[in-house]
């Protein structure tokens, strides 16, 4: 197991492992590193909004956790700056709903957001296929 981790950390610098010690047994969990997530966070948010129409921040984190079976956890620290940036750029718009003392902000895509989402998705899949070629080349080629 040790050697595996060493290899992985050398080759795939962007995948990290999290060790969880529970009742004297070491569990190794695969986690997606922050760096890797950061570059795709915008794409994730835009894509989810395009599917769901209208979402608020907490809903987005829950949705991501549900889809990934809890493997990917968006922290509020990463999510909200991204949401505000997307809004400032005019890719998403928001609508506030007052619930008692709380203000819930629902986000939805604007026409420019839809365009950006399509661009980002395309870019992402192209990137993934390129990186896959580099890191895990098909022996047939």
């Amino acid at each position: 197991m040790n050697s595996l981790i060493l290899d992985m950390s050398l080759i795939y610098n962007f995948i990290i492992y999290k060790f969880v010690i529970y009742k004297n047994i070491i569990y190794v969990c695969l986690m997606v590193s922050k760096d890797l997530l950061k570059g795709t966070l915008k794409t994730i948010v835009l894509k989810l909004l395009s599917e769901e129409g209208k979402m608020y921040g907490y809903e987005i984190t829950m949705k991501v956790e549900k889809i990934t079976n809890g493997k990917l956890h968006l922290t509020w620290g990463a999510l909200y700056p991204t949401l505000h940036k997307l809004e400032a750029d005019g890719h998403i718009c928001s609508e506030e709903v007052h619930i008692g003392k709380r203000v819930r902000k629902y986000y939805s895509l604007t026409p420019s957001g839809i365009e950006i989402m399509k661009e980002k998705l395309e870019e992402f899949f192209e990137y993934v296929s390129l990186i896959t070629n580099i890191l895990d080349p098909d022996p047939a080629y």
Binding site: G57, Y58, P81, V103
Partner: protein, 229 residues
């Protein structure tokens, strides 16, 4: 899902305030987010106090401040760079002037260069940037911008600094600038500033202190002028 009551929401709100979150738009959102998290924990059978304590652990002051800074930076890159530039210049320029004065008094070579750099950067970069940042900050708080105050202050400040610079370099026009800046300061800026102090209750102490320092400074400068004359 059980919803938190107003009292509980307020408790969380106060905890966020304590950690120095001032950007209201972000605060409202984070408040709702933390409330949802607490509610989620309560779903699993925790009581409010325990759930709240657990969530609170992840909300440190450093993190809140960092996220706030990051959000503001992402939204408004230009403004943030300007503000940083203001702080850097605000430290470097006075240091240059102080070192330059020391050099000049000691009759070492190079004093003029230090003083020129310090005074010019203060007059031509620091004051315009400072005024722009100030006006923007006021606008952001949705307060009325007192343009005569800022413009008279900026002109008086720039004229005074350039006047001193011209005097040091023995260029013509130093006297006119210095007198002009004093007139603007006394006749336009100070009345406006006193009016501003009366209106702005929030920063009254700081503004009052600044006014006193300015008046002392001005009286010393005027005294020096007359002594020389």
């Amino acid at each position: 899902m059980e919803e938190l009551n107003n009292k509980q929401v307020e408790l969380i709100s106060r905890e966020i305030d304590k950690r120095g979150l001032t950007y209201t738009l972000l605060k409202n959102e984070l408040l709702d987010h933390f409330c949802c998290e607490v509610e989620n924990q309560m779903e699993f059978g925790l009581n409010f106090k325990k759930a709240f304590q657990r969530i609170l652990k992840s909300i440190t002051r450093e993190r809140i401040i960092e996220i706030q800074e990051e959000t503001l930076l992402l939204i408004n890159k230009k403004y943030r760079i300007m503000k940083k530039l203001m702080y850097v210049l605000g430290i470097i320029a006075p240091l240059l002037i102080i070192t330059g004065t020391f050099w000049k008094v000691s009759h070492w070579p190079g004093a003029a260069i230090l003083l020129t750099l310090g005074l010019a950067s203060l007059a031509l970069f620091f004051i315009p940037v400072f005024i722009t940042v100030k006006i923007r900050d006021t606008r952001k708080k949705e307060l009325k911008v007192n343009y005569p105050l800022y413009i008279s202050g900026a002109i008086a400040g720039i004229a005074f600094l350039l006047g001193s610079l011209f005097k040091i370099l023995h260029w013509p026009g130093a006297g006119i600038m210095a007198y002009g800046s004093l007139f603007i300061m006394v006749l336009l800026f100070i009345p406006q500033f006193i009016y501003h102090i009366i209106k702005d209750k929030e920063n009254r102490d700081n503004n009052f202190l600044f006014l006193i320092a300015l008046l002392v400074f001005l009286s010393i400068i005027i005294l020096l002028f007359f002594l020389k004359g």
